[in-house]
Subunit: 205 residues, 2 copies
C-alpha cells in the first residue's frame, strides 16, 4: 500500500482555508485532519484522540523535550497546541492523507521536521477581496481586521517558500487544484520505491 | 500570462509513451510537441519548423558550440538530432506546455540545462507486461526484443531521478495522472512570482 501525503495548508485568514479543507475531506475518503495535542480541557462532546489529544502541561513539556512534535506553539500563560509526529506518521503509513491547517511559522517548522510534507499556500484572488471578505464577516472590529491584514501581508511574503500556491477565486477550481496536487504527489518516485525495486528484480530473472 | 511547462517524458519502449503523448496533445489545446533540429533530409510532406528544423551538419556543429541545444545525440556517421533551447523557451513564454519524448540520457541532460523541466517516467505495469507488449508487436526479432528489454532494465534504474513515475496500466488513468501533474505544476510559486509581487504591492497601499 502507498503511504499517504501530509498536506500542510496555510494562508491568510479570509483566504477560505476552513471551507476548502472541510470540502476536501468530504470528497476524499482517505483524507483526515491532523489531530493536535492540547493542554486545554475538553469541551462537552469532544473525544480524546478524535478532536484532540488532551494532555497535561507536564506531558506537553515532556513531548517537547522528547521531540514528539512536528511543531508546537506556546504563548505564555495560554493553552498550548502541537502536532504530534507519531499520530501523523501512523496515519500516513495507513495510506491516509493527513491535512494540517496551520499558520506560516508552524508550517515551516513542519517542513523542517518532515521534508516530504507537501506545502500549500492558499490565497484570495486579490488583497482587496481579502479585505472585503474580512469586513463582510461582520464579526471583527476595525482594529482586529487591520491586524489580520497586517499578518496576511507578512505571511504572503513567505508564499514562495511553499511547494504550491493556489488562488481561491472559485472554490470549485481551487479544490480541483488541491486534488491535482494530491494526485500528482502520489506519483513521486519516493512513493514507488518498493514497486520499482520489485520491477527491477523481475527484470533480473 | 503564465509560462508553460516543459514536460519531459521518458520510459522504456513498450511503456506506451507515443500513445500517451499523442492523446495528451489531442486533449490539451495549449500543449505541443517539442520540435527537434536534425541533419537528415526532409521527407515528403515534412515542413521545416513544424516537423523538424532541418539544418546542415555545419549548422548543427555551430549550434552545439553556441550552446543552443538543451540536449543532442550524436551517433558516429548517423543523422543527428537535438532539442533547440530557443524554440522551447519561445513556446513556454507563450504559455504553451512543451512535451519532449526522449530517452533517459537526453532527459537528464535537459534537466541539467533547464532545471524547471518536469520529468516524468512512464512504466508498464510489470516487466512481464513489457515483454509481452514487445513480443505482441510482432515487428522485431527476438534479438531486438532482448536488446530493448536490457535497455529498459538499465533505464528503469534511473526512474528515481525523475520528478514523477506513472504506471501505464490503464491509458485513461495514466493520462489523468499526467494531466494532474501538469495542473499541479502550474501552481508552483515560481509561476506566480509576478502575481505575488502585485499582491504584496496592493497590500502596501
Amino acid at each position: 500500500m502507498q503511504k499517504g501525503t501530509l498536506l500542510v495548508v496555510s494562508g491568510p485568514s479570509g483566504a477560505g482555508k476552513g471551507t476548502l479543507c472541510n470540502e476536501l475531506l468530504a470528497r476524499r475518503e482517505n483524507a483526515k485532519f491532523s489531530v493536535s495535542a492540547t493542554t486545554r480541557a475538553p469541551r462537552p462532546g469532544e473525544i480524546d484522540g478524535v478532536h484532540y489529544y488532551f494532555v497535561t502541561n507536564e506531558r506537553f513539556d515532556e513531548m517537547i523535550e522528547q521531540g514528539e512534535f512536528l511543531e508546537y506553539a506556546c504563548v505564555f500563560g495560554m493553552n498550548r497546541y502541537g502536532t504530534p509526529r507519531k499520530a501523523v506518521e501512523e496515519r500516513l503509513a495507513q495510506g491516509i492523507d493527513v491535512i494540517l491547517d496551520i499558520d506560516v511559522q508552524g508550517a515551516l517548522n513542519v517542513k523542517k521536521a518532515m521534508p516530504e510534507a507537501v506545502m500549500l499556500f492558499l490565497l484570495p484572488p486579490s488583497f482587496e477581496v481579502l479585505r472585503k471578505r474580512l469586513v463582510g464577516r461582520g464579526t471583527e472590529t476595525d482594529e482586529q481586521i487591520q491586524k489580520r491584514l497586517a499578518t496576511a501581508k507578512s505571511e504572503i511574503a513567505l508564499a514562495s517558500e511553499y511547494d504550491y500556491v493556489i488562488i481561491n477565486d472559485q472554490l470549485e477550481t481551487a479544490l480541483r487544484q488541491v486534488e491535482d496536487v494530491l494526485d500528482a504527489e502520489s506519483c513521486r518516485p519516493s512513493r514507488w520505491t518498493q514497486w520499482l525495486k520489485q520491477f527491477r528484480e523481475d527484470a533480473e530473472q
